[in-house]
């Protein structure tokens, strides 16, 4: 993939006068008329927005996929009027920028075609991610094209213009300036943007009495509050897993979804691969709810959420920390603690003990003391990256609103009407506020209730900045001109600060002019080119303040724990189809959330999967379908946030249940509650129905004692091998590194135009993902070991599928890729029937998005959009192979290692996927194929797969030998 990165010169990104051939149809008046009929909203647009919109529509047609191959039509072709120097049609341009998640920057390399971003990859030079990504980053591009985004300002639901907005703000400013902003309150989600924080300070300078409140329904803010309680000051924690030997986790899903996932997973995998004779790092996890961390742990202990404090204290006692008393423990707990303690004592400062962001203070305190005692050198602290640090809480705001102290409320980038704990009664209180402004991508539940809804630009179309989890700042540059009538948050802040029509990048430049000082332009260009500005936040030292004391969660009954959803998080991604259809790591559930209960509890209450359960906390209750989660602590019930939305959009509305409805304001993460069956049940859209390995050696394991597998005998073949080309592609997947995060699936979806089929089709069993993360359990249902196994096409050298096709729609090329030719496929599905791995996917119906949907703008023009009735499957990202070939051929050279990187490989946060040329003995993939842990799936069938696996380490401890 060509690394030709570019950046915008001056404030003018893809300007309105740019035309590209993607707009073929959009120039046609008939088409425009049709659009007006189909899409009345489009008529509302400003000329610019409208043209950009038509451009998208045009794209959707230009890419409408497999037309019949009969008489080739004469279509219109539109050249530029004034072609920009940098634009070459049909050649993607690549920008370094960033998207934000939970307030943090996710540095990305954005691939754009004719001004349409279609694919995001991690920025390989970035110190934190080093090019890795997670599902949220991969799916961000679809959020940009969300058809349900707010497209122009509205006042009480009526369309308004920005002039109106400016006028309204002027009035408000008048009233604020009277009494120093008394009664002006801002409610914002966590922010790391230096520019925004600067603007907030400026605002507070203008109006000293203005108040800022922070609301973060999930994510890093929770941990920061814990740390504030433990260390006496809010802190961000940084795990240096690269130098770590032992991790002991108390309900901390450090490998799970979240802003830190990429960094932790990367470090974890790096350490894990330190030695070829044994796993380089060991993980001891005590978990209430099964998560990625527990699945990867060598020794996993099941314990209820409310018991973590006890365990942590006992662990502390084991390490001989003063004041720690070891309570009465079960044998299992005893054993686990002993092993963990032994290991951490051995590892000393290279050991790390962690407590969950969503745990209780008690656990956090003991964990802090233990780390302190261990003098852990792999735990670092810094000031919080996201702020504002001195913000008041949502609770205070609601109180003030009730007291009528709030005249103006500006809600920025959060959705309290949906995410506020029902107990607070935010929506009622909101009625007390005279004027309310909502700044957000969508006119969501909150936008509905506010007087003004001011639509924001998506990160990919804005000038902004943000900091990554380690504090490294990225300057966010637009990859596309805003195609709706929207403004960036900085522009609106500037309006609040009194500007009339602020330029898109003015505020950002101002911020960085200050810090870059002298040679601003050069450093600015460099920053845009690199995608980040060197320099993490300085380390600070912290010691737990002894007096902090632990307290147990109040009340009796089951532990009800709340978790953000692994794919749609706190609900902000509800309308992103890719994320909705992404199977949740351990349940493989799509398009909904469940109430997970332990097998024991299920037995006790005779619960079956899908039975509707009523969860009651205090006087509130919510009803959701049950999921019996093997390995869940007996008395812990887990609810996941983010579903049950009413104003998410066409994709996200009315799915699942709303856990915020029972969430207590004072105990946001662990509460006591009860459970009962409602008697009804529903069908869950899961992508994997069976979870036991049934004694097959699908996932293999090695131990430090026997670090390599018994060599398999490749069954002989009757036929002579076909001659291979210079390159022979192969893929090796390291099962020891795969944490089941689904980043590869999301990346594949984005790269290969994999369609979203919807809940009903998933229920029938027709999901289209080209790579699936198979998830297996082994052992007892109530204390199983979990395995992840990514399964893309195996590209068998002796492929059974190819033999079945009557029309040559699938066969091999000399580089060993099992080709699937959509335009030749007549849909007999024989290939899929014969495929032992069942990796082929079929377009049973027309799964393409409706032609007028802007979602088509996210399509990769280098990959065919498949029509109804054709088979499809993993192609090893052939479009990347072929463009690499083209590039090499033009330079008249062979391909080099790293010329071809598949989407899944690029995305994988742990580098579990390696792709390359197996003819080249020095290539990474060849090296791994010689590894002792190397094996092929179902090799006994003689299919000779090109995609093979590295066995997983089974590290001792927990009595598992």
């Amino acid at each position: 993939m060509t690394r030709r990165r570019s950046n915008h010169v001056g404030a003018k990104p893809a300007g309105p006068r740019l035309w590209s051939s993607i707009e073929e149809l959009s120039g046609d008046p008939a088409f425009q008329a049709w659009v007006d009929a189909e899409y009345p909203a489009a008529a509302e647009f400003t000329p610019t927005a409208r043209r950009q919109f038509l451009k998208l529509m045009g794209a959707s047609f230009a890419l409408a996929g497999l037309a019949g191959c009969e008489k080739s039509p004469f279509v219109a072709a539109l050249p530029y009027v004034d072609q920009p120097e940098s634009e070459t049609i049909g050649v993607p341009r690549i920008y370094a920028t960033a998207v934000t998640f939970d307030g943090y920057a996710q540095p990305v390399i954005a691939t754009t075609w004719s001004g349409r971003p279609t694919k995001l990859d991690g920025n390989p030079d970035h110190p934190v991610t080093m090019g890795r990504s997670d599902v949220f980053m991969q799916a961000a591009v679809l959020g940009l094209y969300d058809p349900d985004r707010a497209q122009a300002p509205t006042r009480r639901g009526e369309p308004a213009t920005w002039q109106d907005v400016v006028a309204a703000i002027a009035l408000l400013r008048g009233s604020w300036s009277k009494d120093q902003g008394e009664g002006l309150h801002l409610l914002i989600g966590p922010q790391s943007s230096p520019t925004l924080l600067r603007q907030l300070d400026a605002l507070r300078k203008q109006f000293p009495k203005a108040q800022i409140h922070l609301h973060a329904p999930a994510g890093g803010a929770a941990r920061r509050d814990l740390m504030a309680a433990v260390y006496g000051q809010p802190l961000d924690l940084h795990y240096v897993l690269d130098d770590c030997d032992v991790v002991v986790s108390f309900d901390d899903d450090l490998l799970g979804p979240g802003a830190n996932q990429v960094r932790n997973a990367r470090g974890w995998a790096a350490s894990r691969r330190r030695s070829s004779r044994q796993p380089g790092i060991r993980l001891y996890a005590a978990e209430s709810v099964p998560a990625a961390t527990g699945a990867m742990a060598g020794a996993r202990l099941m314990a209820d959420a409310s018991r973590m404090a006890v365990l942590a204290e006992a662990f502390a006692a084991k390490l001989g920390i003063s004041g720690a008393a070891s309570g009465d423990l079960t044998p299992a707990e005893q054993g686990w603690i002993e092993d963990a303690a032994k290991a951490s004592n051995a590892a000393k400062s290279r050991a790390l003990v962690t407590s969950g962001s969503y745990g209780d203070v008690g656990t956090a305190i003991w964990v802090a003391r233990i780390n302190d005692a261990l003098k852990s050198a792999v735990l670092k602290f810094s000031q919080p990256v996201t702020g504002p640090s001195d913000a008041a809480s949502l609770g205070d705001l609601v109180a003030d609103m009730r007291a009528g102290k709030v005249q103006t409320l500006v809600i920025l980038d959060c959705n309290p009407a949906y995410t506020a704990p029902a107990g607070l009664g935010f929506t009622d209180a909101l009625k007390q506020v005279r004027s309310t402004l909502h700044l957000g991508l969508q006119r969501d539940e909150t936008g509905e209730l506010c007087e003004w809804q001011l639509p924001l630009t998506h990160a990919l179309e804005s000038w902004s900045d943000a900091r990554a989890v380690d504090g490294t700042a990225s300057i966010i540059q637009p990859t596309i001109a805003p195609f709706y009538d929207v403004r960036s948050v900085h522009q609106i802040m500037a309006m609040l600060l009194g500007e009339i029509d602020p330029a898109a990048d003015a505020a950002v430049r101002q911020t960085w002019r200050a810090s870059f000082g002298g040679d601003f332009d050069a450093r600015w260009q460099q920053a845009l080119y690199d995608g980040f500005v060197e320099g993490a936040l300085p380390e600070v030292s912290a010691t737990p303040s002894g007096n902090a004391k632990s307290e147990k969660p109040a009340g009796k009954g089951l532990d009800i724990v709340f978790r953000p959803d692994p794919t749609i998080w706190d609900g902000q991604f509800s309308n992103v189809g890719w994320l909705q259809e992404l199977p949740k790591p351990l349940t493989t559930l799509t398009w909904g959330n469940v109430v997970t209960v332990s097998p024991a509890l299920a037995k006790r209450l005779t619960i079956a999967n899908g039975d509707n359960l009523e969860v009651m906390i205090g006087d509130r209750s919510v009803v959701g379908p049950a999921w019996i989660m093997p390995g869940q602590a007996e008395n812990t019930v887990s609810l996941s946030l983010g579903y049950g939305r009413k104003r998410a959009g066409r994709v996200g509305d009315g799915l699942g249940y709303d856990a915020y409805g029972v969430r207590p304001a004072d105990q946001p993460w662990i509460a006591k509650g009860s459970l009962r069956k409602t008697g009804t049940n529903e069908t869950l859209a899961v992508t994997q129905l069976h979870h036991r390995m049934e004694g097959f050696d699908l996932v293999r394991e090695v131990t430090a004692a026997h670090p390599s597998l018994a060599k398999q005998e490749t069954p002989p073949s009757l036929y002579p091998p076909w001659p291979s080309a210079k390159n022979a592609w192969g893929m090796v997947i390291d099962l020891d590194s795969c944490i089941g995060c689904n980043a590869c699936v999301a990346a594949c979806t984005a790269e290969n135009n994999v369609p979203v089929v919807g809940k009903d089709q998933v229920i029938v069993g027709r999901e289209m993902h080209w790579i699936r993360i198979a998830r297996y359990y082994e052992g007892e249902a109530d204390a199983p070991r979990s395995f992840f196994q990514p399964v893309p096409c195996m590209h068998c050298e002796q492929a059974p599928c190819e033999m079945g096709c009557p029309v040559h729609a699938t066969e091999h090329n000399s580089e060993g890729v099992n080709q699937m030719v959509y335009n030749r496929c007549i849909g007999t599905r024989t290939c899929s029937s014969y495929c032992p791995y069942k990796v082929r996917r079929f377009n049973f119906l027309d799964y393409r998005a409706p032609p007028q949907s802007p979602v088509h703008a996210a399509d990769n023009p280098d990959v065919t959009v498949r029509s109804r009735g054709v088979m499809e499957k993993c192609t090893y990202c052939t479009q990347r192979i072929e463009s690499a070939h083209a590039a090499a051929d033009k330079e008249n050279r062979g391909l080099r290692e790293g010329d071809v990187v598949t989407a899944c490989q690029a995305a994988c946060p742990t580098r579990a996927i390696t792709f390359g040329d197996i003819n080249d003995p020095d290539s990474e993939v060849s090296r791994l194929r010689r590894d002792g842990r190397h094996y092929a799936l179902l090799e006994e069938l003689g299919t000779r797969p090109r995609t093979t696996y590295l066995a997983r380490w089974r590290d001792g401890g927990g009595g598992e030998g």
Binding site: Y80, D82, T88, D862
Partner: protein, 235 residues
């Protein structure tokens, strides 16, 4: 086959009686009918196979009308403007690229400045709307063709686009069927030419076309035998 072919039954023969049902002519007609239908089936099949290659289906018979009657004969032929002057990205990108209006105006702001036939061009520049050409050389959506590689490996423009320099109104000179592409992908050598003749419309292969072709193929490191795989063009 009714009427004359069927003998009108005469009353003399009784209920059980027998008589000719058909006149002798009926046999002739029946045989003709059988032969005829045979011929139709055979001819039809042959016809369809031929039709698929006909100028009509491949659209090689048709000069689409253009907003501006642009003549390649005049510009490329008589004036001898190089292809790459307008189709600028042909060497660097998959697409050759249609010239932006600006390119037209580089000359036509000087000459023929008020020729009526150039009105659409001036209009396009004036109100920033592109000229709506009708695309002549169009491949189906599922074919991924790259100009740059072909140029780099010594395939001349004329090889696929014909004598553009002799076309008043541009038309599709070659039938862009898979057959057409495969002929060359299977055996590139005869269709290769030296780098400096890529845009040369009049270039004729030397007597030892194959030998020179082989030489170029070898020099350009053309991956012979790997070019007929599906993924080379279909994704």
């Amino acid at each position: 086959m009714t009427g004359g072919l069927i003998v009108v039954k005469h009353s003399s023969t009784g209920q059980n009686g027998m008589a000719q049902i058909f006149s002798p002519a009926a046999d002739t007609w029946l045989r003709l009918f059988l032969l005829g239908s045979l011929a139709i089936v055979a001819g039809g099949t042959a016809g369809i196979v031929g039709f698929a290659r006909s100028a009509y289906i491949t659209s090689t018979d048709f000069r689409p009308s253009q907003p501006v009657p642009f003549s390649h004969r005049h510009h490329a032929g008589e004036l001898g403007i190089d292809c790459r002057y307008c189709h600028s990205s042909v060497e660097t990108a998959p697409r050759a690229g249609l010239p932006p209006t600006e390119t037209c105006m580089t000359c036509h702001s000087q000459i023929w400045t008020n020729a009526s036939m150039l009105e659409p061009v001036r209009k396009s520049l004036a109100d920033g709307k592109p000229i709506q050409w009708t695309r002549v050389a169009k491949l189906p959506d599922y074919v991924f063709f790259r100009h740059d590689v072909h140029i780099a490996k010594g395939v001349g423009c004329e090889t696929c686009h014909g004598r553009i320099d002799q076309m008043a109104l541009t038309f599709r000179a070659k039938s862009f069927t898979m057959e057409f592409c495969l002929d060359c992908h299977r055996d590139p050598a005869p269709n290769l030419r030296p780098k400096d003749h890529i845009t040369d419309m009049a270039w004729k292969p030397p007597a030892d076309a194959r030998a020179t072709g082989e030489a170029i193929a070898a020099h350009e490191g053309i991956r012979a035998g790997e070019l007929t795989h599906c993924y080379v063009c279909h994704r």
